[in-house]
């Protein structure tokens, strides 16, 4: 194996270690500690959570490296951070401060409306959002070693994440049932190399780990995404925009582990206080999921 391949395998491997876990958005070292304490398997360090980015409007960029470093020092679990779609210099900066995972994210304002980052040029791993199988495989072809649904960030509305997860899984099932000679045309339709379509056909899954993200606000939301086939869950605004972040965070973590145990999830859902308020996608102006296809 070449060095580049080895690094890619290690990066896919780190995503495998995160499976069955919850990755939480945090904006301060204190929040990061609460998240770790509650059982987060990683934290996403960012200056403003998606709900506030939405409220503030304007251009939203990579967070201050000093703020990210503060969070790296506060916790022992992996720390992720977001860069703008196509902004490879922000990604270089995040690699320079030894971030564990970069999220090339539609939550921030895109820096490039045509090209994503060539992620094969980096040693640190990347996670990217996708709404369907084609987007997922295109990101993997660019070097992403983990995929998440886009959902619609900062809304507290799980409908888009559900739509994206269902779409991806139904496309995977479709390819799995195709005959071999149909795969070439499918690769053309999806605008991805044949090898990836062949992999999906042979294994009935993406070549990398796939998490749910965007709009998850309750333990039931998280368990829903797991039952729909997610391998883990990102929770952004849902935790620190709620009444009792500590309790809600711990409840979501347990719901992801025991996502089929309705009795337990019922117990976990009791007395969580106010959930984040939430907005419908029809009520919002900026549709983040359409960024970067």
């Amino acid at each position: 194996m070449s060095n580049q391949n080895t690094q890619y395998e290690l990066n896919k491997g780190l995503a495998q270690m995160l499976k069955g876990g919850v990755i939480m958005d945090v904006t301060t070292p204190e929040q990061a500690k609460i998240a770790e304490e509650a059982g987060a398997c990683a934290v996403m360090a960012l200056e403003r959570i998606p709900a506030d980015i939405r409220a503030a409007g304007g251009v939203s960029r990579m967070s201050d490296p000093k703020m990210i470093k503060g969070i790296q020092e506060a916790v022992s679990i992996p720390v992720m951070a977001k860069c703008r779609i196509g902004h490879f210099v922000e990604a270089q900066i995040l690699q320079a401060i030894e971030i564990d995972y970069i999220d090339e994210s539609e939550v921030l304002s895109p820096a490039d409306d045509i090209y994503h980052i060539d992620k094969t040029e980096f040693k640190v791993p990347f996670v990217c959002g996708a709404r369907d199988l084609g987007e997922a495989l295109r990101r993997i072809n660019e070097g992403a070693s983990m995929i998440r649904t886009k959902g619609e960030p900062g809304t507290g509305d799980v409908v888009q994440a559900v739509r994206h997860m269902r779409k991806m899984n139904s496309e995977i099932r479709k390819i799995a049932s195709m005959s071999k000679d149909e795969l070439f045309e499918e690769a053309k339709q999806l605008r991805v190399p044949y090898e990836y379509v062949k992999y999906v056909h042979d294994n009935s899954k993406l070549p990398v780990v796939n998490f749910a993200a965007g709009g998850v606000a309750t333990p039931a939301d998280a368990a829903l995404m797991m039952q729909l086939g997610a391998e883990g869950v990102f929770v952004g605004s849902g935790i620190f925009k709620s009444g009792d972040p500590k309790k809600r965070a711990a409840a979501i973590v347990q719901a992801v582990t025991n996502y089929k145990d309705a009795e337990l999830i019922a117990k976990l859902s009791e007395d969580l206080g106010e959930a984040m308020v939430g907005i419908n996608p029809s009520e919002i102006k900026i549709i983040m999921e359409e960024r970067g296809q």
């Binding site: 080895t6 290690l10 270690m17 499976k19 059982g39 990683a42 022992s76 973590v253 582990t257 145990d261």
Partner: protein
């Protein structure tokens, strides 16, 4: 002929529990199934009944440590291991054995190789297993053994990355991330021996 059939049946009856609260448990399950052994994914206390061995997989040890307490499995797992239940702990699993359950008398340094950029692959001997492909991902290593009966299985760059103590195996790296099944096979040998001794005792 009848003896062979009997042996085969016994092996099939072995049941390996894999802690499935978080992390790379599916990868261990696949390795065990490739060796023809059935597994049970452990998510709550009653899943721990009637297992012949347990695997603590890679993942995040802080999460796993918290969940085995929250889901009320901590003392059951601890007691079973102390009573001799064979256990294979990999990466986070090693940390659980050493720092949470405290059944394995070694000191472990978490994230000993730094962040993800420090993750690496190498080949080294693991006990009698020669040239094993080792995958280290934000891995720990062992800084100290606290009991003379701890057997050192593997050393990489002067750091201890594999130990055996009674029926417990603790590894810094991830055998579940390779296709090389020799470590899982070795673990099954320990399980088979333990379950035959247990059967003899109860007979």
């Amino acid at each position: 002929m009848s003896i062979n059939l009997h042996d085969k049946k016994e092996k099939q009856e072995l049941k390996i529990g894999i802690l499935a609260v978080q992390g790379a448990f599916v990868e261990h399950k696949k390795a065990m199934e490739d060796l023809g052994v059935s597994c049970v994914l452990i998510r709550n206390k009653k899943d721990l009944d009637s297992i012949d061995g347990i695997i603590l997989p890679g993942g995040e040890s802080t999460v796993q440590g918290k969940l085995i307490r929250a889901l009320d499995m901590f003392s059951t797992i601890q007691n079973k291991i102390n009573e001799g239940l064979p256990v294979l702990g990999t990466c986070a699993g090693l940390i659980l054995l050493a720092s949470h359950l405290e059944t394995l008398p070694v000191s472990v340094k978490r994230n000993a190789y730094g962040r993800q950029l420090g993750s690496f692959v190498t080949n080294e001997n693991v006990g009698n297993i020669k040239d094993y492909p080792m995958v280290f991902i934000r891995a720990p290593y062992i800084t100290e053994t606290k009991n003379d009966a701890v057997e050192i299985l593997s050393i990489v760059d002067k750091n201890i990355v594999g130990v055996k103590f009674g029926n417990q195996i603790g590894l810094s790296f991830h055998p579940e991330m390779t296709d090389d099944l020799r470590i899982h096979k070795e673990f099954l040998n320990i399980v088979e021996e333990y379950s035959s001794i247990k059967q003899d005792a109860s007979a």
